[in-house]
Symmetry: C2
Subunit: 432 residues, 2 copies
Amino acid sequence: MTPLRVGLAGLGTVGGTVARLLVENAALIERRAGRPVDLRRVASRTPKPGAELGAASFDTDLRSLQADDVDVVVELIGGETAAQEIVSGAIDAGRHVVTANKALLATSGEEIFEAAARKGVSVGFEASVAGGIPIVNALRTGLSANRLDAMAGIVNGTSNYILTAMEEDGADFATALADAQRLGYAEADPTFDVEGIDAAQKLAILAALAFDAQIDFEGVHVEGISAIDIEDIRYARELGFSIKHLAVARLADDGIEARVHPALVPESMLIAKVSGVMNAVMAHGDAVGPTLYVGPGAGGLPTASAVIADLVELARGTLAVARVATRRLPNLGIDQVICPHYLKIPAIDQPGVFADVADVLSRHEVSIEAVIQRPQAIRSGVEPWVPIIILTNDVSEAVVRDCVAELGGLDGVTGDIARIRVADLSAMMPPT
Amino acid sequence: MTPLRVGLAGLGTVGGTVARLLVENAALIERRAGRPVDLRRVASRTPKPGAELGAASFDTDLRSLQADDVDVVVELIGGETAAQEIVSGAIDAGRHVVTANKALLATSGEEIFEAAARKGVSVGFEASVAGGIPIVNALRTGLSANRLDAMAGIVNGTSNYILTAMEEDGADFATALADAQRLGYAEADPTFDVEGIDAAQKLAILAALAFDAQIDFEGVHVEGISAIDIEDIRYARELGFSIKHLAVARLADDGIEARVHPALVPESMLIAKVSGVMNAVMAHGDAVGPTLYVGPGAGGLPTASAVIADLVELARGTLAVARVATRRLPNLGIDQVICPHYLKIPAIDQPGVFADVADVLSRHEVSIEAVIQRPQAIRSGVEPWVPIIILTNDVSEAVVRDCVAELGGLDGVTGDIARIRVADLSAMMPPT
């Protein structure tokens, strides 16, 4: 049979693993694909002596992959400018593309899919979201009978590792981050992961696919986990919640809600139990109801598994041709979100303060679902204040913002008020 | 565009829902499929006045679906003989087939796939296992880069509903079963579900797909949940486990292990938290590592979602052509399984009995990992005995069988010994 001829750009962790698997598992992959999937050319600006490339040729010029003996270019160099050039060059030359590049797809996905549609080539991007979990495939085909209306996920393994370590080991954020860096789960500059940018890019890709809409990545509301205090995690637990870094998207009548932020998730929900570097995506469809997908979200092998799945589909001729989203829906913005909130209010331990707090909430018509306030003596250390923990009922962003501003101005309130949204996922997934 | 012309056999819950969705969601499905998916003919031995069939013709003769104006026959009548005739007839006539019929595939899948391969037609069977969860798609394509080596699942919603009700509400088996029947989760004759036959059929289909092997359905070890006592569930919980009805398959060097039975699952694992009629499948691949898929396992809408997903793939031309498993591997049988066991030994509450029990286990070189024995006074009711609960370490079937026989012969043991395997899924899925 005619082989599918692969040109591979990038020999980092994922690229090196893809090359190795294509060589080592050639027989298995041929059986699954129905024809050989041959690694023909590899290009990397930095040579990697010792990389297992089989019979493939190597070049430090990335443009070498535009040669005629390549059917599909696998882009695994990351970043945006050079990656964009490789991908555009490949599509213009009539080659299929497989990429794990979430940044590229989140910001330039539309142009890429349009160019691919014009050329009639496919763009595989299973590896760009949630590593080895075949979630793109599930959304593209497995759930194709459904009008998908909501999704929520834990799509950044670094943040989930840190939050899990804080919850399970009682580590503070800085210690958990340092551990994650030591173990290779976080970069030296962790901003991209812990501030939610990575998760927002993945959410933009998933939501575009699920809702068949062009998603304005800039419009995704993004908050990271760096402000989460170990105390918040303890209080949340006491109230029956885990704090998770969630990516949430909903299709509403008047647009799309897309947001990434820490959230209190009821411990009764499966996704609250997804720990460490595992990823999880919940997707809700009108026919299927709630579904959940869990697996390793990063790493050489899981990501390579997703890249090769796209190659197998290409070889079979079953990878859907790139489809340009048919509609652009307004991004509703965070102000449209209504949900319960967790508030931690640092207060002087004296009569009347709680009454003042309750009064502010009452005047804004915010109901209190739960309160925790401990006698000062129980608190260790030297803080001259006690935290008042309040779980509100459903409240809009505008109202909660006003409340927090007003609460901050009270005489008895001594510092910044922490607020964390409570995830209402009951429509997406029944409790366990 | 040329439509994909559908002939539908069966107008029960699933068939009726498929017909309705094809008519009501025609525009959405056409957008996903790239061309119309038209319901042309419907056949059902019993007419269903009021069923929403759009422009489709209706006939009580199932053979009417072999007409020339049908591209794919959707078989949703269930059972084996008539279903087999419809499916074989359709394939012989060069039609594609989509079926939800697990019994048919578990027992005659091989012939069906061989016939389809000869005719070059596709057989879609996403709906035959785990309802709306796109697990067949995940195994066929999403994880195609992997050598899959292990899977475990909760694939019978009826049994999971009953076990959940027993665990959460303290209901006994008979009460929980009656509830399930009242709610429509269990048939009047529940044997097929609660004795594990349904789960074994689904396991045979999944394992054949995952391991690319012909699976001898008769060789799957099958035990149901009817012998599970509410007391077992309470003791298991005390030891940190949930009792789940698991379908487990492993690819070993010398064959395939395939078994369906109740098992103690550590509460730290996600799958232990999958409750009610939800299904879940864990699949482990050498590249991706552990993955988990959760969703509704039955019901008209979730199953219809899976049926229509296959139709969309057919319309796109991306449904993999039926592939005959390339190898037949020996079924290792339950005697090859080594795992820890839970034993409940009814014993007279007098000195020396525990020593005799411990002696039997010791002579068979079975280590005791945990013991629960309560003073008799705590036990309510009139039983003249106390249960001794023992959690063993890894032990083979032969040894545990010998132990149980010998323990049953002890003077101080007053009745049948309950034994339940402990699931060792750590290789498949990291604890939460």
